[in-house]
Amino acid sequence: MQRDKHPVTLLTGFLGSGKTTLLAELLAHPGMGETAVIVNELGEIGIDHHLVRQVDERTIVLDSGCVCCVMRGDLADELRDLFSRRIRYEIPDFRRVVIETTGIADPAPILFTLLSEPVVKHHFELDGVVTTVDALNGVDQLLRQPESAKQAAVADRLVVTKTDIADSASVTALESRLAQINPTAPMFRVVQGKVEPETLFGGSERDVRDLELSPPGHIDDVHAFSLILDEEIDWTAFGVWLTMLLQARGEHILRVKGLLNVGEEGPLLLNGVQHVVHPPVHLEKWPDEDQRSRIVIIARGAGRDEVERSLAAFNRAAKARG
């Protein structure tokens, strides 16, 4: 019998943003038993009853030269090894895997590895990306460090740390900026890593149609915008359009997430990080009466109006016969 795939959570965040503190606290929680952990530096994560493995970051550049579609050979090897040793009973069983990245790691290659390496994608699946952002330095890092803004953009959960030692104005400013960069991710204030694991692992998706988006200060800042389409989307046209858009502008389109009305009973759930797009998921039904498609795009340097016009042009051209 085929076992379910092992969920993998990616824990990322800029240098000093509290990833290790959060992970150490989480692993001490009784609900986090049977967790395999992959880290770059063993450091303070000395929790004996967990399977803690260290990897040295090693990337394999593919022929395409695409900067986000780089295979993380270290992770692929480690995940393959974890799986093969588990089925030989050389290591204890584990239910989930947590990968803690370095502070300056680009998360896109890790996601690409999880979704595309043939053995890895067969036995593991991405549960989500948790990103820590430090309330003391976060606003400045998001402004000055492109990796920091990207880590926030790809998050499925945002953890705001050090809120106990930052002043309330800094915390509010950071949360406001994070909501502008990535409104799709629920945000949690966490002090000294104290949080229930189920808050950060698994759980339901935020409905992208309920999001309130605030306008960017400048189009070159990382910002989110949404496309709402009344007409049904032709999935074939959408695939042609998005692959072309990601080829042309992929480095500036950090995230694409949406619920699409493709003329079926339920919507199609779409989720992509730069060039890496998860296989679309058919949902059985819409969450409510509103069956309009809504796509949230996190980008820099591209505006909503031109993207919306382009998608509509492709969609209508596909529907026009002859």
Binding site: S116, T236, T243, Q247, P280, A313, A317
Partner: protein
């Protein structure tokens, strides 16, 4: 699942739905888009695509993910869906 590296994968995310009819629709739309750049595309036995320019150049690609990079090479310029000229062409076609 990567638009640039799709050849590594058995099934590109944009081509997992709809079967042969969707493939025929895809080829029709791709020809409208590529035609704007002087390129054309054929489906070869429902398994790969051949993209050609007007100067005798051609490339065989696995799927729509790997298509765009090859098409840019054959066109000798970037292919951008936000190109206003391309949008004008597609809108004019849709209006018939």
């Amino acid at each position: 699942m990567c638009v640039l590296c799709g050849a590594l994968l058995s099934d590109h995310w944009a081509e997992t739905e709809g079967g042969r009819r969707a493939r025929a629709d895809r080829v029709r739309l791709l020809n409208r888009v590529l035609g704007h750049y002087g390129l054309s595309l054929d489906d070869w036995a429902g398994s790969v695509y051949t993209v050609r320019n007007g100067k005798g150049g051609s490339a065989v690609v696995q799927d729509v993910g790997t298509l765009w990079q090859a098409a840019e090479g054959l066109a000798g310029r970037p292919l951008d869906p936000l190109d206003p000229g391309l949008m004008d062409t597609l809108e004019a076609h849709a209006e018939g």
